[in-house]
């Protein structure tokens, strides 16, 4: 395999992801070829323009930002926990958010769902950080176990809500929990968060790289490990929250995308983080496009498609590379 420099790899991935996403804007129950797309954007009028500006473009944008946030969140958490199985939901953030959003649905106050989801997830973020602490230290092991336990407890409550809720609401709830962008809206602060995390990854890239040696060694070469870990924890968590409150727990992107990129030989966080953003964004855009066009007008949950797309790619790469070790 020709070894590209990391810079050119980043630029190619960025171009391919953006191009793919633009193509995906055209797909849906009404298919708009790319030529027609440019034409209606130029005219800024007509039925195609309405479909594009009101439906497609916001949808693709929200899919892209969700994927970008999830992939970066997963990447950061894998670094923080030194664990390849870490994903954005490992601490139960999605469960906390789900509990909030489902309560909003159950108590028939759907306009509060984002606020309640955000509240539930923030509570989990605080709770896990607080409980995983011992003195001034927290170690990855305790953090993972605490998160998994909080998550398990909340999932039990969610199951309880699902069982007790009226049957006509249950399908919507399950759909949402699998990850569903139908009602998601693009928001400016999500874009700001993406830029913030990319900047963090680029500026603290070397420190993040060194975290893979363990906190003791990282501290010995001069890294303020505690501060860095807090920053990672908060950024990764709120990235996940930003996605979950809008589009539910879209699975697999955060777990799979960083691995896919590392397996292609990119491991410096300075490149890994932005590349995760682009790849994750494109993956969710493609998955969401398939989810809404394969059985159109019926819509599938995007979370199902991300897994169906991500799993084969990762397994293929795992088999191709013989030298993947722990």
């Amino acid at each position: 395999m020709v070894r590209m420099s990391q810079q050119s790899a980043l630029i190619s991935v960025a171009c391919v992801s953006i191009f793919t996403s633009i193509i995906c804007i055209g797909f849906g129950s009404v298919s708009i070829p790319i030529g027609l797309m440019f034409q209606s954007v130029r005219e800024a009028d007509g039925v195609h323009w309405t479909v594009l500006s009101q439906l497609r473009f916001p949808r693709v944008l929200v899919a892209f930002t969700s994927g970008a946030l999830l992939a970066m969140s997963g990447c950061l958490l894998q670094t923080l926990l030194r664990n390849p199985l870490a994903d954005p939901y490992i601490f139960g953030i999605s469960s906390g958010a789900s509990l909030g959003v489902l309560s909003a649905l159950v108590f028939a106050v759907p306009s509060y769902s984002v606020a309640l989801g955000f509240f539930g997830a923030s509570l989990v973020i605080g709770l896990v950080a607080f409980m995983a602490h011992k003195g001034s230290d927290w170690n990855p092991y305790r953090l993972i176990l605490t998160g998994v336990m909080v998550s398990a407890g909340l999932n039990a409550l969610i199951s309880l809500i699902l069982v007790l809720s009226p049957p006509n609401m249950m399908k919507g709830m399950i759909f949402w929990m699998m990850g569903d962008l139908t009602y998601a809206e693009p928001r400016a602060w999500v874009g700001a968060l993406i830029i913030l995390i990319i900047a963090f990854g680029v500026i603290f890239g070397r420190a993040l790289d060194a975290m893979s040696l363990g906190s003791e060694r990282a501290r010995a070469i001069g890294i303020s490990v505690n501060r860095l870990e807090y920053a990672i924890y908060l950024l990764a968590s709120f990235a996940a929250v930003a996605v979950v409150v809008e589009g539910g727990a879209i699975g697999f992107v955060g777990l799979v995308v960083p691995h896919i990129i590392r397996m292609t030989g990119i491991w410096c966080h300075r490149y890994l983080i932005p590349m995760s953003a682009f790849t994750g964004g494109a993956l969710v855009v493609v998955a969401d496009t398939m989810a809404r066009s394969l059985w159109a007008p019926l819509q599938l949950p995007v979370g199902v498609m991300t897994a169906l797309l991500g799993v084969p790619i990762l397994i293929y790469l795992l088999n191709k590379r013989s030298d993947v070790r722990s």
């Binding site: 030194r82 790289d209 363990g214 003791e216 501290r219 010995a220 001069g222 303020s224 490990v225 070790r325």
Partner: protein, 254 residues
């Protein structure tokens, strides 16, 4: 230079070493001897500022370790721990370059000087030919040389090594120790090393710190405290002294 003033080494609420006081000056090279589990590694962690003591008991030029930032401390005191996580994905030269973290002024990349020092460190430990290899793919000994080179690149004033000879072959051990003797005596550096090979101590070190199983300690010039009596108490094993080429060697008995 490095002053320890009545320091207790406490691990999980248990006092391993009590009321430790000694001063390490530049140009001195200390060996730290002691049985397994007597708190040697924990002591090095305290001396390097990786763990914080209950009170300010460790000073670099009269300044308590706690008043340094992690980054400025890494230029004064550098520790190579015995263990670390091994999921580093980068190349050998990138690994060694991590040692320059505290010195790198810019946010992006390294200065020419950083790269030069990295290169020199690689060559010093004879791993220049491995510099583009993946760190994870190295053998145990090659990995250890890479680790040593990274602390050389960090270039602290006081080197702290936790069993650095592990996995090194004899030529590697001798070259490493001779290099260390060289820089300590000429470049205004100091070094402390946890080591189990007592017969290297008199040859390559100026001072010895013995930490006893009962929490007591003995610190001093090698010639004064390296003897069969102290070593026997230290390791709870009988030692015989034999002379070879004018130097004394210690042989453990049964």
């Amino acid at each position: 230079m490095l002053e320890v003033n009545s320091l207790d080494v406490v691990v999980d609420g248990k006092v391993l070493l009590r009321d430790l006081s000694f001063i390490v000056e530049l140009g001195q090279s200390w060996a730290i001897l002691g049985a397994n589990g007597t708190g040697k590694s924990s002591l090095l962690r305290l001396l390097s500022g990786i763990t914080k003591p209950a009170e300010d008991d460790v000073f670099v030029e009269d300044v308590a370790l706690s008043s340094f930032s992690q980054k400025s401390l890494a230029k004064e005191v550098g520790l190579l721990p015995q263990f670390e996580d091994h999921n580093y994905w980068g190349s050998v030269s990138e690994y060694v370059g991590l040692g320059r973290f505290a010195h790198a002024a810019g946010l992006f990349g390294q200065s020419e000087n950083d790269q030069l020092i990295t290169k020199k460190s690689l060559e010093n430990f004879e791993i220049g030919n491995l510099s583009h290899r993946e760190y994870r793919g190295l053998s145990g000994g090659e990995r250890q040389r890479t680790r040593l080179a990274s602390l050389m690149a960090q270039d602290p004033r006081i080197f702290l090594w936790d069993e650095p000879l592990e996995n090194l072959d004899y030529s590697g051990q001798m070259k490493f120790l001779s290099w260390l003797v060289g820089i300590v005596s000429t470049r205004d550096k100091a070094s402390m090393m946890v080591i189990h090979d007592i017969n290297l101590v008199s040859r390559f070190f100026t001072h010895t710190l013995m930490v006893f199983p009962d929490g007591g300690y003995l610190a001093g010039v090698c010639d004064e405290i390296m003897n069969c009596k102290n070593l026997s108490t230290l390791y709870q094993t009988r030692f015989d002294q034999v002379m070879h080429d004018g130097a004394s060697l210690f042989v453990p008995g049964f």
